[in-house]
Amino acid sequence: MTPCFLKIPDGLKRYPLVGIVCWLAALVGAHAAQDVRLRVWSHQGQEAENHAVREIAEAFNAAHRDRGWTVELSFFPDFQYTEKLAVAAAARDLPDVFDLDGPLVARFADVGLLKPLDEFLSDAERADFLPTILAQGTVDGRLYALGSFDSALVLYYDRELLARAGVTPPVEGQGWSWDEFVKACEKLKTAGIEPVALHMNESADEWFTYAFSPVVWSAGGRLIAQDIARVRGELTSEAAVRGVRAWQELFARGFAATDPVEPDPFGQGRVAMDWSGHWMARGHLATKGDRLGVMPLPSLGTPAAACGSWCWAISAETKQQEAAVAWLRWVTEAETGVVPLVRANGAVPARRAAFAHFPEYEQMPYALFRAQLETSARPRPRTPFYAMLTHRFAAALRDISRGADVESRLRKAEEAVQRVIDRKRPTKTAEASRP
């Protein structure tokens, strides 16, 4: 005879759905019974990078077994990662630690979603980070995020193509003034060579703000007065307009294509210079070898460069603060985090101690990446209104490249952004006036 507890209740036999519900409930129960873990989210990235993050997590887990800390990694595809973070933030279901794109830090910090990191960081540790990394993670004087790597934006050139047009590149490490840059473009154009690739086919707004803010900065302008959240009069300041006008000239005079189709015309040898980032360095070195030269972006006054990348932050609501801080430290520490990550994705190490592992940083173009980040690079504006700002600014630049009037188009953009800021400012000014 079957013991009665082994019998399937009649109800279950008759209603398979009841069975499914019970089975699901059991599944839920099984999950709840597991250990407490540190929830960590990361964007998917390239496979090598993804693999590196997993290995870093395994090493972390092995090293902290005695403490019972286990990192539970979740990856979301890049294209929906920012959305996923926003949804989780709205649902108050953020993981303990997560990575986010630099410009998003201010947005999240503004509504109190991030834990300030200052108290966890010794002065020695702080001094080992590149200044751009600290600047990127700092909002209103407090540090909220730390990256393992940074980015760099430079002007690559093809020595042979420049020579063919009779253009002499500047001394190594030096950049051109804007006038010199325009003269070089003229010569190249006359020689029948397309002067510069600006990647205007990039579909993301972010490319425009990232790549062309330095033009505004080097002319002495800025996109926003960060402390008082003012855009009106900034985008249309004399300096900003001068910078963007100079940039527009590149299209008007046929130095750069407004609607290119190829992703990498420089690599294909069709274009003489490439306004692009560190991520092209390996490819360009492979195709050009000794022909590849590199210089800082041309300057309209003050040399300025771009920076910024993914960085790690801790949720303000984490219940695992100690473990969360340990993970953040692990993944931004030179040996345990920075080196394996940079090996995988080719970005610029965020820690000075890590450069010893990458001999290529003794030479160009890598030496320039580091030099720029140490001196002239600036993070994009750290304002809660960044998403709006970048969106409008990029749309304005797209139109301007196709011939729109610079000042009126920028005015339209700044008005649109300012209107939103003005509406929100009551809370903002109240916070600012607090002692």
Partner: protein, 285 residues
């Protein structure tokens, strides 16, 4: 004589129509057939359909299935998807048929106005309220881990204005005498509904099941919103992730597409007779 000739022509026409049907059907199904074939091909052979590569056994593989299963965590994803659809269908059948029965048979003051309000919700696209609905789900604790997320995936979609409307039509079409006879027997309202009315509209219930399964198996926007953890991914989200995460492996994607389709195909096979028998016919007004 002429009769035989006409027969002859009809037979020719039939044959022509039949073979035309086969050709059109093959063309129509080409995307699905290609998916099925591609899911068993090695990566470099997916886009190659020449005879030489088709007969080459080295160009065929079943590894895509294993890879897809692992990379998209299809095991848990299938469990979530099946659980989601099963709960929506089961819960939906119960609550919607109860309401429909009340609107059809249990008249009270204001019931017509209430019914009109429900009917107005039919055209409300879920996309319009998806975000505030997400906040409601959050407020009720229906986000996060597997249990809450499963509730969040299903509870909002059980009650459905169209299903109430549709089932009410069918209840109204039932002859009243059966129920009144039962009243004389002393049966109560609940028994009326459960023992007499509900079994009489089985084909309509089947139609509702089919429509619900088709709709919710393909759900995308809502699972994308409500699922903030890896373990609450549905099959469709798993497929979308496979589709967008590098390295993109077409073979894995196609295998995942096949796996994502199988459960609903089985379901469809089982419910097909109802689809043909009832169709959405009475919903048209």
């Amino acid at each position: 004589m002429s009769g035989r000739r006409r027969d002859h022509i009809t037979r020719w026409a039939e044959a022509l129509l039949g073979s035309a049907s086969v050709v059109v059907a093959l063309l129509f199904l080409a995307p699905l057939l290609w998916t099925l074939i591609g899911s068993f091909r090695v990566e470099e052979a997916i886009f190659r359909l020449d005879a030489a590569s088709l007969i080459d056994p080295r160009m065929w593989t079943i590894e895509n299935y294993g890879d897809a299963w692992r990379r998209a965590s299809l095991g848990p994803a299938l469990a979530v998807s099946i659980g989601q659809v099963a709960l929506i269908v089961a819960g939906g059948l119960l609550v919607n048929s109860l309401a429909a029965y009340a609107f059809a048979r249990l008249q009270f003051r204001g019931s017509d106005a209430l019914f009109a309000a429900v009917v107005m919700l039919i055209i409300l696209p879920v996309e319009v309220i998806a975000v505030p609905m997400f906040f409601t789900a959050r407020d009720l604790g229906l986000t996060g881990g597997l249990g809450p997320a499963l509730a969040g995936l299903t509870l909002p979609f059980m009650a459905k204005a169209f299903n109430i409307y549709f089932l009410r039509q069918h209840f109204l079409n039932l002859p009243r005498q059966i129920e009144e006879a039962a009243v004389l027997d002393g049966a109560r309202v609940w028994a009326q509904y459960w023992r007499i009315a509900l079994p009489s509209i089985k084909p309509a219930l089947a139609t509702v099941v089919v429509l619900d399964v088709l709709t919710h198996w393909g759900d995308f926007l809502w699972p994308l919103l409500i699922g903030t953890r890896e373990e609450t991914r549905t099959v469709q989200i798993g497929l979308a992730n496979l589709f967008t995460q590098p390295p993109v492996q077409w073979g894995d994607i196609l295998a995942c597409a096949v796996i994502a389709t199988l459960p609903v195909l089985v379901m469809f096979r089982w419910l097909q007779r109802y689809i043909v028998a009832t169709q959405v016919h009475t919903g048209i007004k």
